[in-house]
Amino acid sequence: MGRRKTLLLMLVAFGALVLTPSAVRAQQDPEHDALVLALRMQQPSDPGWQAMMKIAILIVPDREMTAILETRNNGVPAKVFHQVFNLLTWKYNPAQGFVYAGRNHTGIRLLSFNRPDEASRYAASTEASDFSGPFFTRPACRRIVGGRHVIEIAGPSGCGISFSSDQLRAVVGPLLDVLAAQANKALSSLPPPAADQPPVTQTQPPVSTPPLTPEDLATVPPLGSEPPTMTENEPEPQGPADEQPVSELTPAEIAAAAGLAGGAALLGSLLMLGTSGVRRDEAIAAIRDLLRGHVPEDPYEAWKRKYEALGWKYSEKDGVGTFDPIDGARNEGGEIYSAERGGFVPAGEGSRVLTSARDGDVNERGEIWSENEGAWVQRTYWDQERSRAADLEARRAGEIAEAERISRVESEAASQETARFAERIAAERAANEAALAAEKARLNQLYAEHLHRVMDAEMAESTRQEHWADVMAVGEYVSKATLAAAKTGMMVVAGPAGWIPAMAGSGIISSAEEGARAWVAGDSGGKLAGAFAAGFLSGAKDGAVGRYVNMPRISNVVKVLLPAELDTAETLLRTGDPRKALAAGGLSAFGGWVGQKAGNIGNTVTREGAQVLLGGFMGAVGRVTTDGNFTEGFIDGVVGGIGSTVGGRIANAHTPMTAAQIQLDQEALENAAKGQGLVDDLKHAIAHGTPEEQKAALHRVLENRDAKLQLKGDNVDEATKTAFAALTDEHRTKPLFEGTAAHLNGQTVTDDKGVTTTRFVVREPDPAKPGSFLEREVRPTDIKSGSGSAGAAPGMDLDMYAGATIIDKKTGRPAHPRELEEAVKVTCDKLGISKSQQEINVIHPTHVEAYAKRPGETPKDFLARMNAGQVRGSEGRSLSEVTAVKLAEAGVLHNPAGAASERCRTVIKDYDRITSGLLEAKPGARLPPVFTARNAVTGETPMDILRAVANGRMPPGTADAKFRAATGMSLTAGAEKLAQMPEFIAKIGATGRAPAGPGLVYPTGMSPGEIATAALRQALRIGSDKASRSGPKLSL
């Protein structure tokens, strides 16, 4: 491909608007081999919406430079700067950058080729270029101009913008037409090639075109106006600026243009980075200068200044500037132009009269020497000439001053715009940070409120327990009970080992305390030492026993007898009475034994009461055996028991929650509130609304999980449920089935003979001719619903399937399921139904939800067979996969709280429908203990937690916390594990049992191949689970 130079890339914003060009101007700059296009856009739908503006930038050879379009709605600039700024680090094509920033842009560029055939080939080619994507490779987006140039609309590919064919014709086509027409006009106005120039003009400077300025853009002729004629007699373009039509550009627009130009240059430099030789720092430096108002040396100005200095005369016609030599003008070789001779002559040979007179000298004829004319002229002429020169000088000075003023204004405005831009970026950054901080503060506040509720609940429990203590006249021991509660709580949270550091400390403290009391009492040295020893033993014993008896694999006998032995020793040391010591030991053993029995009591209140009373009894008897008071001992024992109960209950019954879990609960509350609102709306529409309002309310409900759940619950009256079912049938199921059938019937196929027929037909036995078949069109009744019959309350989803044999005439075989799927999808789109949110599925024999694995078997028969234990391993696997697919879908369809709830609902529903039957049918099979272990305090099992979420009785965040505390697994992991149960149960034999851990347990007799396959599947499943949880989404 002979692409020679890329001349121009100009970005055009379509944004949310459909824009059409209202004015176009095209100019050629041969010196830079560039074509400059400028166009002004308008929004056809709003004629009053105008002042669209474009800035075009001159392009240097072999480099693309771009111009950013700024769209303005009645003078209010759009946010273009933001994207421009981000492009500093943008590595891909600029259109993607804009789309990435949330705006749809596309670009226009002109490609020049060496030969027309190359241009033609490119224009007709369908290959993707470096800039255009798949949507813009087609020839419809290209026009050949000037024989060897191609104008191309280049758009962002794969970034969410696409033009349909209709849109192409409506928008892109006319735009290209206008551009091509104007470009052709500009190209045809160019002077002939250098070879066609007269010989005498061999040193003639090339014809040039002044670059477009904002003023040029403001004076772009309106679309549809007559193009300027190309005759040589065409009068010069209009003169001074004050004689031009009033510019539409305000100073602010000009300022914005300057700023935009800087962004454009930046964009261009990035575009060509690595391919054009322009270094990034060079480009950025140029942009920086532009933004600061330091306009670099303009090649056109240099060219113009050069020939003005040589004395040539400048004129501009049709946007093409030319210099003509006049008498006395020099060429680059130093020759002087002679009009008389019609060419350049060596210096000194010109017709100019050589004289020593100076301007204003008077000769003998009264004539005055005119330096300007180089001749003696009449005084009147000389005066007029002087006056004219003075005027010109004054005007030039004024123009210079005005130009400087404008330059200053532009520079200042550009600087201000840049500063405003920086401020805006800083403000947005600050706003983002503030939003993040606010979100964090909100979450912390949410968590703090939760912690307050936790504290209040715990305080209520403490109050209840202390009230009990008051009733039993032990209120003065509140602090002691509190201490015991705290100790118990700490042991529960930190584990027995966490209490061990206290052992030595408590021994020392008790020792010191008892020793101090003995010292204060004036005891002897021996008794003092004994007191210290006894105190130490008592404290150390508690710590040691607490640690040891809670270690794994310590038998219950040891747990009972060890403390008893130590109590015996302590009592002996304290009292010196073996009888009392043995009594204390026996009491300890009895208490320990009874305590173990009490710990196994199922009823929470009974168990706690028994433990408290046991504590009181132990304390009382213990005190008696050590010469104490029974009542005092009983009170102490009760107090200790209460304290332990409080601490253990708080630490065990209450499950800590993380901030994320709190947020999940909050989200679930919001979901429920939103669902309730939609249900209320539906009720109101049923009672008072028009059919259209009822339809709208119905679809809002059908697309909301919580609303559907509430309509299936007990809190909604039967009349509403009946109306809901009827409306669903009328506004969703019926039109969906009819539309699906109509879509299938509308498809045609043409055979080899050119005969076109209906593509999909239903083939059924001909009752008149046994053994032969009839073909007919698809009827709505051929589409069946697997989610309940008409009039019944709709389910959470709608499972559709073909209830007749639909033949695809294209293949001569039963229609592929994807054809029905496509028909349903198209119908949903036409009806404005969200297929995914309403969970409309197309079921077919190979669908994962098609339970019937044996030919002709209905789902109902399959379930019956399965419940009888007659299910194969592959079928069990299929069942597990069905649930797994639903779990995965839940994560896609709902927010985190909705997904968590839906997973529980799905897995519990399938457990009740499938797994429980399998468990009953398979001898020896049972759920892993991880699902059935009962919390000793709350009495809940993990299955209870899953069920509570499924029924909406427990929010998912709380459930996740409880489930984690009980099983070590997240709620999601638990649901996934439960979903795998059918596969496990189907695969293990009659003597096997369900695996207790997360891994698979394979029964004896399973072939190595099957085991290997199952293990691989399990590994893949775990891997995919990990991958799915590795993202930033809130996961359970």
Partner: protein, 361 residues
């Protein structure tokens, strides 16, 4: 009574703990590795939940230490290290077990709250009392309260035994307290700890390593007299005022308490330490001890709500903000700030450390 199902529950030696942390990388300023007297261990990094724990122990963002004290029973201490703010969870317990270490977790903020919740009395009586004193003066005040409480108790027992009627006011008929007895009581504290003494906690928070000198006691008595908490005669005999009677009464039920300490790294590299001692007393009152940014010991009578708000604020606030620069209102968090380079205490408004000159901001 069972332990919560921690994903990780591991007992390890000092060397093993050092190796675990070293395997995760160089330790941060709050890492317990800096306190382990063990040579650097080079080994592969831990994985799984132990790896998570190692990362937290290597460079924790905040640390909460909780000490629970009991009168006749015991005391216990546990430390939880968090990778970020406590509200984000993911903390790990680190308990010293006879020279070895128990690492358990992950632990959430709420579990810490559950530890101290039972210690707070369910009812609250808002009795405004706040005193901010030098540590020595606070120790003397605590000793006065302890002695007065003992005297009152003995007086009540004697009246019961003698069959005399109880006095109308709490401190009626109390003999003035001789300075020598006060000094002996202060000396005795450093010999024999008693956990039902307010002096124990006041000294623990004040950080004084030894009993005050006689002259310091005299100075403290004068200050307490000026504050009208006590009356002194020319022989420095002390009589508690009715203002102090409320503290004495509150201290009657004192037999347990807990100390809260949160240490966190700030954005500027300095260390924030928040300390508080909460002592539940009879009648729902709480003796509340903390340290002000100026280094004074603050003693207040607080209610449950106030302490609850403090604890929840501690667990949900982010320490990224600078600590308060002015004296905080009653019940507010009392923060102490330390240099991140040398650990020297610095004022909230300081930009450079007064000891090492390191930049704090």
């Amino acid at each position: 009574m069972t332990a919560l199902p921690f994903a990780l529950h591991k007992l390890m030696t000092r060397a093993e703990l050092a190796g675990l942390i070293d395997g995760a990388g160089p330790p941060g300023p709050l890492s317990p590795r800096t306190l382990l007297d063990a040579p650097k261990q080079l080994g592969p990094p831990a994985t799984g939940s132990l790896g998570d724990a190692a990362n937290v122990l290597r460079d924790p963002h905040s640390r909460i230490t909780l000490r629970i004290w009991g009168g006749e029973e015991a005391s216990a201490e546990t430390t939880v290290l968090f990778p970020a703010d406590p509200a984000a969870g993911g903390g790990y317990l680190l308990n010293d077990v006879e020279g070895n270490f128990d690492v358990s977790g992950p632990v959430d903020a709420e579990q810490i709250l559950a530890l101290v919740a039972p210690l707070l009395p369910p009812s609250a009586q808002d009795i405004p009392f706040v005193a901010e004193l030098e540590p020595t003066t606070m120790a003397v005040l605590a000793a006065v309260i302890d002695i007065a409480r003992d005297d009152v108790r003995q007086d009540r027992i004697a009246r019961v035994l003698d069959g005399r009627r109880m006095p109308d006011s709490l401190l009626a008929d109390l003999h003035p307290l001789a300075p020598a007895r006060l000094a002996a009581h202060l000396d005795a504290w450093w010999v024999l700890s008693r956990f039902d003494q307010l002096l124990t906690y006041a000294v623990a928070l004040g950080g004084k390593p030894k009993p005050p000198q006689q002259s310091a006691v005299a100075t403290a008595l004068l200050q307490l007299s000026e504050a009208r908490l006590i009356a002194i005669d020319d022989k420095l005999h002390v009589t508690p005022t009715s203002e102090l009677a409320r503290l004495v009464e509150a201290a009657f039920g004192l037999c347990a308490g807990f100390q809260w300490q949160r240490v966190a790294t700030l954005g500027d590299g300095s260390i924030l330490i928040v300390e508080r001692i909460v002592l539940p007393c009879a009648g729902g009152r709480i003796l509340d001890l903390s340290v002000t940014p100026e280094g004074l010991v603050r003693l207040a009578l607080a209610g449950r709500e106030e302490v609850t708000a403090f604890l929840i604020g501690e667990l949900t606030s982010s320490p990224a903000a600078a600590p308060p620069t002015t004296a905080a209102p009653r019940g507010a968090v009392q923060a102490r700030r330390f240099c991140g380079h040398c650990g020297h205490p610095v004022a909230a408004a300081d930009r450079f450390c007064g000891a090492c000159g390191g930049e704090l901001t």
